[in-house]
C-alpha cells in the first residue's frame, strides 16, 4: 500500500491544482496571516473537536481570535490552535485500500458472537 506524502492543507484541493478557472487563486499576498485550524473542547471530559479555521499572525492571536469566532456562546472550555500547514491528511483517493481491510473483519465486533440466552450481563 502506498501512502501519499503530498502535504495537504486542511481542505486544500492539492498543491498542483489551484481552484476555479475564472477565479484565479494565485494572488495570495505575502502579508496574509497564516491559516490555523481550531479545535475546541466543549466540556471538561470530552475530546477537542475541529471547529473551523481562521487567520492569525501567531498562536496567541489564533487562540484569542478563536475565542471570539468560535466560543461566543460558551461553546468551549479549552482551545487548541494548530497552524494548518502542519496538518497531514490521508488521501481520499486511497481511502478504499486504506479502510477496506477492516470491512471483512466482522469478528472485531461483539455482535459477531452468538451466545445462549441464559448468559446475562455480557
Amino acid at each position: 500500500m502506498s501512502f501519499s506524502t503530498i502535504k495537504h492543507y486542511y481542505g486544500d484541493y492539492g498543491e498542483a491544482k489551484n481552484g476555479a478557472a475564472d477565479i484565479s487563486t494565485n494572488n495570495q499576498s505575502k502579508e496574509e496571516w497564516p491559516l490555523w485550524e481550531i479545535f475546541i473542547r466543549s466540556k471538561q471530559g470530552l475530546d477537542h473537536k475541529h471547529a473551523g479555521s481562521l487567520h492569525a499572525a501567531d498562536a496567541a492571536m489564533a487562540i484569542e481570535n478563536a475565542r471570539d469566532v468560535y466560543t461566543r456562546r460558551m461553546e468551549g472550555v479549552s482551545i487548541w490552535a494548530v497552524e494548518s500547514k502542519y496538518i497531514h491528511a490521508s488521501n481520499p483517493v486511497e481511502s478504499g485500500s486504506l479502510y477496506d481491510p477492516a470491512n471483512d473483519k466482522a469478528y472485531r465486533h461483539p455482535t459477531f458472537y452468538d451466545l445462549p440466552e441464559e448468559v446475562k450481563y455480557m
Partner: protein
C-alpha cells in the same frame, strides 16, 4: 468521474474539499460562498450605523452582539470558501474592487431605529429561509458553516421582531415609524431571494448538485406566507395592495416585484452601494498598520525563540 460524483450527491454523501469535483462545481461554490461571506461582512454596516444611537443600554448590547455574530458568520464562510483553494486576500480584493457581489439588501439606508427591528425580522428572516436548507448543502464545509450560522440567526430575527412588537405598543409616532420602516424594507426583502426561477439559469445545475435545495420562487413564497401572518400580530400592514390569501393555491398572492430596481441595485446603482464599499475599503486600509505590526511582532517573537 462526473458520474461517480453525481452518484455520491444523489446518495446524499457530502463532498469534502480534497475529493474530486467538477471544476464548475468548485467555481459555483466559490462564487456562492464568497458572496455569502461578503454579505455578512457588508451586512454589519447598516446596523453598525445605529449602535451609538440605540435607545437603551440593553438594545445597544443586543445590537453589538448581533453585529459581532455577523462578523463571525463572515469568517466561518470565508474559511469554508478557502478550502476550495481561493485565498482570503483574493476574496477581499474581489469585494473591494467590486468584482464580487453581495446581497442587494445592504445597499439600502437605515433611516430610523425601527429599521433595526425590520432588518432583524425581515432581512434576517429571509436569510434564515435561505440558509436553513443550506445546512444540507452537498459541500461539507459549507453545510457545517451554515449549521453554525443558523443556530445564531434565530436570536437575530426574534430580537428584531421584539423591537417592532414594543414599538407597536408604543405611541402613535412610534407606530408610524415602525410602519414606515416596514414599507421601505418589504420589497427589497422579498427581492433578496433573487430573480424569478425562469430568469435564473444557474439554479437548475445548482439544484442537481444540491448546492441549492429550493428554488428562489419557492423560498420567496414561503417567506411571504409566513410574514403575511406575522405582520398581523404587530397590527401593521405589508405595503402590497395585491397581497391576498388564495384558498386554491394555499398561498398568499402578491403584487409584481420591481425587477428593474433589483437589477439596478445589483449593478451598483442602489442608494448606498458606494457608501458601503467605501466604508469597507476604508476599514481595510485603516487596518493595514495593525496587520503589519502584528506580523512584525510575530516574526520578532519567533526569532527570539530560535536565538534562545
Amino acid at each position: 468521474m462526473e458520474n461517480i460524483f453525481q452518484d455520491k450527491i444523489d446518495k446524499e454523501i457530502r463532498i469534502e474539499p480534497k475529493d474530486w469535483m467538477p471544476e464548475k462545481y468548485r467555481q459555483t461554490l466559490i462564487r456562492q460562498i464568497s458572496q455569502h461571506a461578503h454579505s455578512e461582512i457588508i451586512g454589519m454596516l447598516p446596523e453598525g450605523n445605529w449602535i451609538t444611537r440605540a435607545p437603551s443600554l440593553k438594545r445597544k448590547a443586543i445590537l453589538i452582539a448581533k453585529v459581532q455574530d455577523e462578523a463571525g458568520h463572515g469568517l466561518y464562510l470565508y474559511s469554508a470558501a478557502e478550502t476550495l483553494g481561493i485565498s482570503r486576500d483574493e476574496m477581499y480584493d474581489q469585494l473591494h474592487t467590486g468584482k464580487a457581489k453581495y446581497s442587494s439588501i445592504f445597499n439600502y439606508p437605515t433611516l430610523s431605529w425601527a429599521d433595526m427591528g425590520v432588518i432583524g425580522w425581515l432581512v434576517d428572516g429571509a436569510a434564515i429561509m435561505n440558509q436553513v436548507p443550506l445546512c444540507r448543502s452537498s459541500f461539507g464545509p459549507y453545510a457545517r458553516a451554515m449549521v453554525r450560522v443558523c443556530k445564531e440567526e434565530s436570536f437575530h430575527q426574534r430580537q428584531g421582531f421584539e423591537i417592532l412588537y414594543v414599538l407597536s405598543k408604543g405611541t402613535a409616532a412610534q407606530r408610524k415609524m415602525a410602519q414606515d420602516a416596514i414599507n421601505r424594507w418589504w420589497w427589497p426583502s422579498i427581492m433578496m431571494f433573487g430573480p424569478k426561477d425562469d430568469e435564473s439559469p444557474n439554479s437548475i445545475q445548482s439544484m442537481k448538485w444540491k448546492i441549492k435545495r429550493f428554488s428562489n420562487d419557492e423560498l420567496r413564497q414561503k417567506f411571504i406566507d409566513v410574514c403575511a401572518e406575522q405582520v398581523k400580530v404587530l397590527g401593521f400592514t405589508l405595503p402590497d395592495k395585491d397581497l391576498k390569501w388564495n384558498e386554491e393555491r394555499g398561498h398568499y398572492d402578491f403584487g409584481e416585484i420591481n425587477w428593474d430596481e433589483f437589477w439596478q441595485v445589483i449593478a451598483g446603482n442602489g442608494p448606498c452601494n458606494k457608501e458601503r464599499l467605501d466604508a469597507r475599503k476604508k476599514a481595510w486600509a485603516d487596518g493595514e498598520w495593525v496587520r503589519a505590526a502584528a506580523t512584525a511582532h510575530a516574526a520578532k517573537k519567533s526569532n527570539k525563540l530560535k536565538a534562545a
